[in-house]
Symmetry: C2
Subunit: 214 residues, 2 copies
Amino acid sequence: MKEHIVISKATIDRLPLYFRTLRTLQEEGAEIISSEELGRRIGVTPEQIRKDLSSFGEFGKKGVGYYVRELMRNVGEILGLHRNWNIAIVGLGHLGSALANYRNFVSLGFNIKAIFDVDREKVGQHIQDVEVYSLSRLTEIIPAKNIHIGVITVPAQFAQQVADKLVAAGVRGIWNFAPVKLNVPEHIRLISEDLSVGLTSISYYLSRQLIDED
Amino acid sequence: MKEHIVISKATIDRLPLYFRTLRTLQEEGAEIISSEELGRRIGVTPEQIRKDLSSFGEFGKKGVGYYVRELMRNVGEILGLHRNWNIAIVGLGHLGSALANYRNFVSLGFNIKAIFDVDREKVGQHIQDVEVYSLSRLTEIIPAKNIHIGVITVPAQFAQQVADKLVAAGVRGIWNFAPVKLNVPEHIRLISEDLSVGLTSISYYLSRQLIDED
């Protein structure tokens, strides 16, 4: 019987940032990290770090810090990164092409198994060994290739109908890049990206600098 | 004399999410939002919402909620979105092209003023009226066009040298998409995107579903 770990929604939302930060730390050769430094990198207080991490076990040594590799492995397991997830990209425009060529996904256990587009010129091509199929074959290919997650990179006006097709074909998660709010059933995990969040954060800091110089 | 608002780093990191969520709410026609609903959408507790928002003024009405439009305008001002920021994209591959074509930036006050690439075929082209310059002209063009923020979408192995050039040319902020840790001086605001964070979050929820069905 597996143990159920109860973690708050806010902590869960921070877990991918923990994982990413720990991976960077490991690449930098760090073996131990203090809650102060981890907090600084993630952007929360050291108290929050200690609270978050205590909710899924003891990975720290008092007065020393957290063991980077051990903590990363555990956070990775909680995030389900020890499994393999099959994903499909719908829409082979600029962003779809960028994602299809993004190597980092593979190292995290995400395998791109199919790409869909409506453009006949693109259908039949291969991007990094992955075939581009006609969108009309989505309902057939998604179950055939056991695809768990659909990535939507089509123009906004087509995003909802693509989401409906993906759900009907059996995906469990949708990662949406179209700048539109999608409606999906409750059992579907939907994450919508907004690429302007990063720029907005930079804008905040630059505004402060300008004020400080006034 | 301008008033300095003291806001914690963790709250600041959530501000772009507040802004994005409020903008979506406004597009949906919502006039008032409760801290419970806002918290659910952003992924933090209602207590955290009330604490965050109280740190920069009174935008709520007890027992009713927050006024969406008023709160959005105020968060936007704190984020510096009432100014115009000039940005340059370095690297016109798939991702650079996707960003150069992304309309949402303009509506937030971010104006793409220049694009740089090393490919002679691309230099001289225009993407949505923005000229593509040779990377060798970066040092000249950045100050000439008063560019505040540089966006790095070059391959990882070239990202640090592009960052160095951008800093020397006078940008104040860098938005990095290359999967590598960059070193920049302290006065530069650096935001590094990791496109796998969204997928990782979906992975977490799908793992839970699978366990629940075991």
